[in-house]
Every structure is written in structure tokens, then in C-alpha cells.
Amino acid sequence: MRERSVMLSNILLGLGCALMIAALYLVFIYAPTEEAMGDVQRIFYFHVALAWVAFLAFFVVFICSILYLWKRDVRWDTVARSSAELGVVFTTLVLITGPIWARPVWGVWWTWDARLTATLVLWLTYVAYLLVRGFATEESRGARFAAVLGIVGFIDVPIVYLAIHLWRTHHPPALVGDLVSSMLLTLLVSVAAFTLLFIILLKGSVSVRNMEAEVRHLKDSKMNRRNY
């Protein structure tokens, strides 16, 4: 069982590396330079891929939170927690790559536009998700609280987006339809590479958490034996 899992990890890792190198090649060498924006547009391939993965991560949190509250299996909580951590990391990267792109193109680092603001609110919600675990008085309670926030936060996303969209918007609309085929290919490979990266990281993080739990369990059982 463990050997098979290690083998699967290795295959995923190899595939991920290959895909990431392919994505880098496509982004920096293969894809044509965008006419109006120039080379800075190449950050788009990372920006969109990161945003997609961030959203995927929070969707995983949402699903695992529901499953945790329903089945009460700690494994779901472990996945949700790891996924939330990764989601926050990826959202942070989205919020960093965005301004780098926006500055030369829009002339500003930041604008209070629908997607930008919604992403920032999303980031804040899941930072709170991670904080609530740390501040909960017991670990199991923290897991339950986090699950509740994982559900409430995710349901909130479309409403936040709609509200801010009606408020104001500047962000370029999803322009996948207008992309030339070489750009589209680059984007798709980049998205696939980052999705695989997410899966590898999630798997790694979950297995570390499981090992931690196992060590704690062994330690506790040993302590108990000594006491009696």
C-alpha cells in the first residue's frame, strides 16, 4: 500500500516536472509576443493558471468541509486544511503577479475592480480560516469551526463577486476566446502544469499531516502505557 503510494507520488512528480518545463518553454519561447502589451503579457499565463488553482483549492476546501461535518472523518479535515493553506499561497501569488502585470498595462498597481477586490476578500476569508484553527481552544473544535468557515466563505464568493461587479469593474473579461491558438495552447499547458503542482503539493502536505498525527498517536499511547 505504502509502496504503491510512493510510486504514484514519483510518477506525479516526474510528470509535474516535465509539464512545468514544457510550460516554461511555451510561455517564454514558443508563445508569440503580444502586440499591444509586449513581453509583460507573458505573466498572464502564470496569473491565470495560479488563479484557477487557487479557486480549485478553495473548492476542494468547500467539498472536504461538507464531508468532514457530515462523516466526521479526520482525513477530510486534513485535506481541507492542506488545501486551504495552498489556496492562500496561490491567491497570494495571484495578488502579486496581478499588479506586476497591471502597472505597465493599466498604469496602476491596483484598482478596486470586481475581480481584484473579490480575490482580496477571498484571500482575507481564507486567512481567517487558517487563523481560526490556531485560535480555537481545542483542535477538534478548530476543525469544526474551520469547516463552517470553509462552507460559508465559499458560498459567499459568488455574492461578493456579483456585488462588486455591479459596484465597478475594469478587469479584462475572460479573453480565452480571443486568444490565438499558440497562446491558448500555452495557457492550457500552464494551467495543467500548475494543477498538477497543486495536486503534488496537496498530496505531500496531507501525508506530512498524517505522519504527524501518527507520531502524536504513538507518543500518546506510549505515555499512557508508562502511566499505568
Binding site: A128, F135, F145, I155, D156, A163, L166
Partner: protein, 224 residues
């Protein structure tokens, strides 16, 4: 249905009674909300020309912060005297406790709003267009308190609950805040009903969604 109402009302009445006897929270929150309005007046240096732009924001920031302060008490007081255990021993479903607490917070925030809003309108020389403003306040307060009561129960069990509640609460109520500020802006400008209907729809949608979600997940928050 009738039975449910009686049970919710019992919890609501308990909260109301204890608040009426101490008046601790109401006075402090009221003074705080008034202070926010006054402080923001300095921060924005609101003259005749800018007041229309900043007034809705000032009002809703005051409500939001005052709301956080009040909501902190919703479950904190139960926790302090270990009366939460007593409440949980009541032979009622968990969501009844939620609804009772929600009714309490809602009434409480509405009272604060009913006092603050006229003062605010007078202080900033704004038209006293209360009926439409009242509708916005009621809808937004349902949104605030439905999420707030859930998070208040949640943060009562955390170490730094005074800071945990706003950290959890504020990002989630962003849509309510936007819609309320925009709709208030329309009302204060003397705009038409149709201009604010979109915002009212967002408020109603938020209220319904989060009432349902909160009722569903509340039992996981206070279970031991």
C-alpha cells in the same frame, strides 16, 4: 410552527430581559456608534460638497463596527457564566437557539440603528427620508446578524474572541456593506426606487442564503 415560534421567543425574551436589566451593551454600543460618526466627520473633513459622497459610508461603517461590538456579546455573555451549557441542555433543536439569539441581536441592532440614523441625518443636514432608509437598514441588519450570530458563537470558543469575530465577520459581509452603502447613497440623493432595486435584491439574496446556511451549520459550531 407555533411551537417553534414559542421556543424561539423564549430564548429571545431571555436575552432581551437580561439586556433591559443591565443595559450594559446597548449604552456602550450606542455611544461607540455615535463616536464613529463623529470621528469620521474629522477624518473626511466633510464639507457641504463632499458630504453626499461620504455620508453613506460613514453611516455604514458606524453600523458595522457597532454591530461587531454588539455581536461579540451575543455568546460571550453566555460563555462567561457558563450558561451556554444550560442553553444547550434545553430540550430544543440547536437551530432554535440560533434563531432565538438571532432575534435578540437583530432587535438590538435595530434599536441602535433607530437611534443613530436620525442623529446622523440631523448632524449632517441630510434629508430625513426615513421609510426607505428603514427598509435598507432592516434588510442589511438581517444579513449582518445572520452571519454575525453564527460567527459570534464560533468566536466565543476561540482564544482572542474580540479580534476573531471581526476577522471572520467582515470579509463575509462585504456584499451587504456594498449593497447597503450604494442603496443608502441612492436614497440620500433622492434617487428613484428602480435605482436601488438591484441593491435591495442583493441584500435579500444574501439574507436568505445565509439564514439557511447558518441554520444548517449552527449545530456544528456549538456542539461539545
Amino acid at each position: 410552527m407555533r411551537e417553534l415560534f414559542t421556543r424561539v421567543f423564549a430564548i429571545f425574551w431571555k436575552d432581551l430581559l437580561s439586556e433591559l436589566r443591565t443595559k450594559e451593551v446597548a449604552t456602550s454600543v450606542l455611544v461607540f456608534a455615535l463616536l464613529v460618526v463623529v470621528i469620521f466627520n474629522f477624518a473626511f473633513e466633510s464639507g457641504e460638497d463632499t458630504i453626499g459622497l461620504v455620508a453613506p459610508g460613514i453611516l455604514w461603517v458606524a453600523f458595522t463596527f457597532a454591530g461587531v461590538l454588539g455581536l461579540n456579546h451575543t455568546f460571550a455573555t453566555e460563555k462567561e457564566n457558563s450558561s451556554l451549557e444550560g442553553l444547550m441542555l434545553c430540550p430544543v433543536e440547536r437551530y432554535v437557539i440560533y434563531l432565538g439569539k438571532l432575534a435578540g441581536s437583530f432587535t438590538f441592532m435595530l434599536v441602535v440603528a433607530a437611534i443613530i440614523t436620525p442623529i446622523f441625518l440631523v448632524l449632517f443636514n441630510l434629508p430625513l427620508c426615513l421609510p426607505r432608509l428603514a427598509l435598507i437598514i432592516v434588510l442589511a441588519t438581517v444579513g449582518f446578524t445572520s452571519v454575525g450570530t453564527l460567527f459570534s458563537a464560533l468566536s466565543a470558543h476561540t482564544k482572542a474572541r474580540e479580534i476573531m469575530l471581526p476577522i471572520l465577520f467582515l470579509p463575509v459581509v462585504v456584499p451587504v456593506l456594498i449593497a447597503a452603502v450604494k442603496a443608502t447613497g441612492v436614497v440620500l440623493d433622492g434617487g428613484a426606487w428602480s435605482d436601488m432595486s438591484t441593491w435591495l435584491q442583493i441584500l435579500v439574496a444574501f439574507d436568505i442564503i445565509f439564514l439557511v446556511v447558518s441554520v444548517l451549520v449552527f449545530e456544528f459550531v456549538i456542539e461539545e
